[in-house]
């Protein structure tokens, strides 16, 4: 089981920046390399686990490079670390490198864009629990919204390499073609479905694209694309697992669809967190309890970030 292979060891490690490539517009892919103990700890990172990056000392970009909507907040000081999951983890010799897919949304990710090769970054991790593979899984559906595509790329790799008998299909959604966090310009292949995303195709995983405005792939939310696919599928339900990462409203809908179709579902949740190691207790996720109407708060950092979709008390708050 994937769960058992998760890293037991975690710590505060120094990583070296290998690359920090702008994929397009606000999307970047940062590659960090660990050696020594850090390499050992991160080599065992499970898909869906995360790390906390200290970006407090990272430089701001030049004024011209700051997007208008962030100009007002750009110079805010960063105190707390920021959590990121991984789009890829690779081990070569005694080094481990991790890929972080990120979007520039605030002062910390803005600073992140200036990280350049050979700079070092303090990384706390690997943290939390990743996706798991239930016994008897035959088909895995990876459903992402926007930046949620990151950890599902890592999962696609793990599933295809460690579980060759499982069929894997990716569904990637966003508001528009521009908002899809992939390198390939999808508006140029707008109506083309299947094998369209190199990030998944390189693992032999077919991918379906959905955009709210129809500028690429299916017109409508990715959950609509998923529903339609499940409606056509003859084997929906049996031995199928949905793995999902994206905005919470989307995850709630995915969990609802999964419940209707009696499909196992795992969701990667996001919460504001200070520490990532269950000290601060801030990243509470309201969860159902079995045999009672009471709910409990679990911690996104410690009990998650991946939860069973049926466990999360969607929309109660």
């Amino acid at each position: 089981m994937l769960e058992e292979s998760l890293a037991k060891k975690r710590g505060n490690f120094s990583a070296t920046v290998c690359a920090n490539k702008q994929i397009r517009e606000r999307f970047y892919r940062l590659v960090l390399e660990f050696s020594g103990e850090g390499a050992e700890a991160f080599a065992k990172t499970g898909a869906g686990q995360f790390a906390q990056l200290d970006l407090s000392d990272t430089a701001l970009p030049s004024v011209e490079a700051i997007p208008d909507d962030l100009a007002d907040v750009a110079e805010r000081k960063i105190l707390l670390r920021r959590p990121f999951s991984f789009a890829d983890v690779t081990t070569k010799g005694n080094k481990t490198s991790v890929d972080i897919l990120y979007c520039v949304i605030g002062p910390a990710t803005l600073r992140m864009t200036t990280l350049s090769a050979k700079e070092s970054v303090s990384v706390l991790g690997p943290l939390g629990n990743g996706f798991w593979v239930p016994d008897g899984t035959k088909t895995a559906l990876l459903v992402s919204g926007g930046m949620g595509a990151g950890p599902l790329q890592h999962l696609a790799k793990v599933l295809t390499s460690d579980f060759p008998d499982i069929d894997v299909i990716a569904f990637a959604g966003a508001r528009s073609a521009e908002a899809l966090p992939f390198e390939r310009r999808l508006d140029e292949i707008s109506q083309q479905l299947g094998f369209s995303l190199p990030e998944f195709a390189k693992y032999g995983v077919e991918s379906l694209v959905a955009t709210d405005d129809g500028s690429a792939g299916f017109t409508g939310p990715v959950t609509g694309c998923l529903s339609e696919w499940l409606g056509r599928s003859k084997s929906a339900g049996k031995g199928m697992v949905i793995y999902s990462c994206g905005p919470e409203a989307m995850l709630a809908r995915v969990a609802e669809i999964a419940k209707e179709k009696n499909i196992d579902c795992q969701v990667s949740m996001e919460r504001r967190m200070a520490c990532g190691i269950s000290l601060c207790q801030s990243c509470a996720v309201e969860c159902r309890t079995t045999g009672s109407n009471e709910t409990v708060y679990k911690l996104c950092c410690q009990d998650g970030p991946v939860f069973d979709g049926s466990e999360v008390a969607w929309g109660i708050e």
Partner: protein, 317 residues
Amino acid sequence: MSEEVDISVEFAGIRLANPVFTASGTSGYADELGDFMDVSSLGGFITKSITVKPRKGNATPRIVETDSGMLNAIGWANIGLDAFIDEKLGALEKLSCSVFVNIAGETIDEYVAVAERLAGERAIAGLELNISCPNVELGGISFGTEPEQVAEVTSAVKKVSGDKVLMVKLPPAVTNVSVIAQVAVDSGADALSLINTFTAMVIDIETRKPVLANRTGGLSGPAIKPIAVYLVNKVYEEVTKSLGIPILGMGGIRTVSDAIEFIIAGASAVAVGTANFVDPGCTAKIVEGIKKYCAGKNISNVKELVGSLEAEQDAAN
């Protein structure tokens, strides 16, 4: 440079190996810190708030970062007294540092119930009475701002706390903190800890709603440090110095020099809070740094530093 610096301190009758604690609510029940530092290398450890019954805590968002600080409104999320004793005390007993349990309640009876049960536990050196938490509807700060209430809860808990050191944690935002401090000492406090967080608010200007689900939260971090240093010095000069009552100073400490400022101001020991979220091993570095500072200043015993603030600014300046 003197090689042998004694940084052990006597704190209300307890011998601490060094004057550094982790602050309540920033280091869990201690087991969470184990991957990042040797908790036994601390002078003291303070648990998160323990209440008679388990508490779920507040809805999310529970935290928000501010310039050089953060607000939290966790709401005393904890496993409750019984589970704490069954599941956590065993590990705490193995620590070689002094363990304090932060106790909280909505009524005086609840404080008393927790104190009474813990008074007989060998693992515990002392109790920290939380009468200054800004994030719960009942109890907490409402006990800490009215002198009559402070007297009542402190003396009630003192009666049942046996030989445990009773430390009262003071709120910062009162008309005169020395009045509250004096009442606490007169009612049986063996030590004082200050300061707790400041009640504060952050507003989302798009929605015009408070960012925190609890509306307000407690401000902590470097932003509050100078106020904390001032209040520690005020209470030291006006209340505790003449009585020989020790102060545990806290509020925004993250570096060695921060800790030393508090000691010079009058704190016999210091607690590190928010900084644990960023660097969970920072307290171990602060312990070493205090030793180095003393050696560099030819101070053979850290005691010499406590309350060593020079009275007047040098006239030549």
